[in-house]
Symmetry: C2
Subunit: 223 residues, 2 copies
């Protein structure tokens, strides 16, 4: 007697897919909480040392959202960045990921009880310094800003395209170093346009103050 072969179902464990799906669920809950409180949330992404914290400091210092701005800081270790923000009398929560290479929606959710969302118009979330992994994890934000410095070179959008794909704005920082580097702004703009034709690029230097008002205006129009 011949045995009828019944093909078995192949069980595929898609760890990354599952992780992403679980993350998206929590991100949706975060987003609902942010919308209920009418707070604009910006996910600030970029390499280590791109100038993310300096940009957030400049935003907090401007006084445009005085008393109505909050910050979440993501780092592998230390509370250095949160201390820089707290010094400006802005509510801030530091998330330490241990060795983790990005923030995820759950980490942000765990920080929210420490934040009085009802008091805020604007919440800036500084992600872990990393031009790769944070791109794949929705935190529930409404806007994504990629910070890239002139010192990193003009080819970064071509070499790290994923994170630029979902960005709403690119802030090109440390433009005060332009005269001292080989950075080619035209090449940078071309690489950005190759990924997203209409993605705006804002030139900025926290050191000289150039571009900070334009950044604040961009943000004001969206809060």
């Amino acid at each position: 007697m011949e045995r009828t072969m019944q093909p078995r179902e192949v069980k595929v464990i898609s760890v990354f897919q599952d992780l992403r799906a679980a993350n998206d669920q929590i991100a949706a809950a975060n987003r609902a909480a942010f919308e209920a409180a009418a707070v604009r949330v910006v996910n600030v992404l970029g390499s280590p040392g791109a100038g993310k914290t300096s940009l957030i400091e400049a935003t907090a210092r401007s006084g445009r959202w005085a008393g109505r701005i909050g910050v979440i800081e993501g780092d592998l270790a230390t509370a250095n960045d949160a201390q820089r923000i707290a010094a400006l009398d802005v509510p801030v929560v530091q998330i330490n990921t241990g060795g983790g290479c990005h923030l995820n929606a759950k980490m942000v959710a765990s920080a929210l009880p420490e934040m009085d969302l009802g008091a805020l118009d604007l919440l800036l979330i500084e992600n872990v310094g990393n031009l790769v992994c944070p791109a794949s994890f929705d935190l529930g934000e409404s806007l994504r800003v990629v910070v890239s410095s002139t010192a990193e070179g003009a080819d970064k959008p071509a070499k790290y395209p994923v994170i630029f794909r979902d960005a709403d704005l690119v802030v090109l920082t440390k433009t005060d170093l332009l005269a001292h580097t080989d950075f080619d702004p035209q090449a940078f703009a071309r690489h950005v346009a190759d990924i997203q034709a209409d993605l705006p690029i804002l030139h900025l230097s926290c050191r000289s103050g150039t571009g900070v008002d334009a950044w604040l205006d961009w943000l004001s129009q969206r809060t």
Copy 2:
């Protein structure tokens, strides 16, 4: 009648651990191949735009290992870096990770058939620009060099400690920008020493050439 409760074994799926173990096995095979061919392999790590490719270019240009140096380039996308190296008449293989945030031992193993290891004394592997994830993946290298630029700020070792923990050398690049940034070399040295007391730091500028000879000497002593 009371049922005797037998505690069940809890099955833990440690995806990351399994990934690491599988990687370590391939890394060991890579290492054996490198040792059999008497080739020194350096894993070059650092943030996007830290100056890894420029350091490798300077090494290739020096002529110290003329005809006996090879390069493997790791990037999410593009063959830009490999083209820079190929222009110097050095054998080079470009690995594109797709969206992957680090090189692993398998990727390096897949590049080895393209390399005549017997002809080499020195193989430089430029990892994906990322100060977090590459730290966890052994490629079979004998030396790890972390490249960190003055433009990134002095606090990076404190904020990204894992990658500095297993390093054999820190190359502080873009020292020509020192006069134009707030970078504090003493603070940087202190942060590095907090992680590894005797980890050497080499100051270097590919632009001015300062420190390049010291880097080549360090490397020569190890090949």
